[in-house]
């Protein structure tokens, strides 16, 4: 399209699309400078409102969803890690108080691993999403913990059955080892019987003698199998003990986790409840703090 030149037009008399563009750019500038000021002023509440206004309004002001509140948020996605890093300081302070058993490690800028507890070989329990003020628990680890709470009612631990099964297997193997002398005696007996059986030679009874012979051989084979198992038993038992140790360790860790949650939240349900309302709770605290400092002035 050919464009007419309009030399006499004043700068503030742009055409409609151009005006819209400059307005829109101005809004972006305003958005970014507000964000910058909020960071300079340490106004974490405002930052949260700016990075996801729609969620903020719904969660804290009970307003209906409205996507226009988030018109500008895409401007800053590339600096999300840095914002997350910035916001983590106050958030983790807050969480340290509310969830005293969680520890965080910033594996890369703005990314936080959660560790459950400070005991030996504590578990990595998932991630902390700082921008959303939400835990993103590792599903497998969380499920184990949930199961632990469920089993507690039956006075069982997560691996009680597994440990019992392996212990029973080890008891059996031990019995097999202990019975070696018995087996040796039985084998001597059977071999003697076999010899006697071979010496008997009856025209009329040959079927029965054969059958008897087969029975003796079967028993000897069974004993030989057991001998073999007994010979390998020590290695198997050692493997089993290592397995039991692994399971006991996991049970110990889960017991500590359960205990930590009960100390801080009384119940697993309360814990889950708190996790769901974490965003609202935290932002409410930030609003409260802002109020206090405003009142103080």
């Amino acid at each position: 399209m050919e464009k007419q030149s309009q030399p006499d037009l004043e700068q503030n008399e742009q055409d409609q699309p151009t005006r819209a563009l400059t307005d829109s750019l101005q809004q972006k500038l305003d958005y970014l400078s507000t964000l910058r000021q909020a960071i300079t002023a340490g106004d974490d509440r405002l930052i949260y409102e700016l990075i996801d206004g729609d969620h903020y309004h719904q969660a804290l002001l009970n307003e209906e969803p409205n996507a226009t509140r988030n018109t500008q948020v895409d401007l800053i996605t590339d600096v999300h890690p840095a914002i997350s890093h910035y916001l983590s300081t106050k958030l983790i302070d807050y969480l340290a108080h509310e969830y005293p058993f969680f520890y965080y490690e910033e594996t890369q800028l703005g990314e936080f691993q959660i560790y459950f507890g400070n005991w030996w070989d504590r578990r990595q329990f998932g991630k902390l999403n700082v921008l959303k003020v939400a835990f993103e628990f590792s599903q497998a680890e969380f499920n184990k913990l949930q199961k632990t709470f469920e089993l507690a009612a039956a006075h069982k631990r997560f691996n009680t059955d597994g440990i019992q099964r392996i212990s029973a297997a080890n008891d059996q193997l031990q019995a097999l080892i202990d019975a070696q002398d018995d087996r040796d005696r039985q084998k001597d007996d059977l071999r003697q019987q076999l010899k006697e059986n071979g010496q008997r030679n009856s025209l009329f009874d040959s079927g029965r003698i054969k059958e008897e012979r087969q029975q003796i051989i079967d028993q000897l084979t069974k004993l030989a199998d057991e001998d073999e198992q007994a010979n390998n038993a020590h290695a198997t038992m050692k493997d089993n003990e290592a397995k039991i140790l692994t399971l006991s360790k996991e049970d110990t860790i889960l017991a500590y986790e359960k205990q930590a949650i009960e100390t801080a939240f009384k119940s697993f349900e309360n814990f889950n409840e708190r996790n769901r309302s974490l965003y609202t709770d935290y932002l409410t605290t930030l609003i409260g703090k802002a109020q206090v400092s405003a009142d103080g002035e």
Binding site: W119, W120, D121, L245, K249, T252, Y256
Partner: protein, 317 residues
Amino acid sequence: MANDETTKIDAATLSTHGKLSMFNQGLKSGLANGQKFTELMDQLIDTTDGETLLQAARTLSDFKLDSAYVTFPHQYQNADYYLIFMSRLLSMHDDEQAILNTRAHSESLYHVFEGLSDDYTFLYQVVDNENGGAYYHEQTTGENLFYVHLERRLLRFNSRAFTNLFINKLLLKGVGTDQINTVLATLINFGHYLRDDFGFNVDFNILDVDNAAKYELREANLSGEVVDKLFVTAAEHDYMLQNSPAGHGAEIQLPGSLVVDVFDAGQSQKADWVITVHDPEQRVSWFDVLLHFDFMRDWYLENIDALEIKADPLVFA
């Protein structure tokens, strides 16, 4: 040259006078040797000066009393002078726990302890090679509790012998920790006196109460499984094994502000797992922990192949 020639002359070629004179010289020097010995003995049993005592013991510990012309039918063993020295040094510090006994009908000495049954007798065994020195040895168990070298002024305690004797033989057979502790105290004091009075280099090893002591484990690259076992057993006894602030490893807090760490103190390339014991007054050693905390002791003994505290490999191979 001429002198060398004369001494080489065979005794058979000497004149009668020459033979008698040589005999007499032999006696004189043998007697002088004996005289020298009795002077040293006087010092060893009567002096109140520490350094004189040490010098007398040192000289007597490899003294040859007999000579070609003079032999003495009644003699103590070189090892006995170590024992006398130890008893004298302890009694100079008013420690009379180690009782020095003589065997009937012979000149030989041994220690028994007030706190222990007389079944356990202690004496020194002199090392028979060029290294010298002597082990303080318990006779029924054959354990060498420590090694001492008076001339080089060094003392090395041996974790294995202390564990075997005081824990496996005594504690686990019902001897009380009080009794064990009085014996330990005397042996440890002996180390202190040697260090403080004479500047000995002393490795207290498993008995070291210093917070800075790092007890090195036999399995320098300790397997995680061994620590897992402590984690599980500690939990069963209501203690929590935590991550060690000292690095890769674990820490357990025991009553009395007592903190035990098991961790890798090595460089990135080479693991070096150690145990440390911290207490505010620096009065507790790893061995004390083993004596007083059953579950720690069980863990240590059940995993002794990995956990045994290394003693000086030069004298305890």
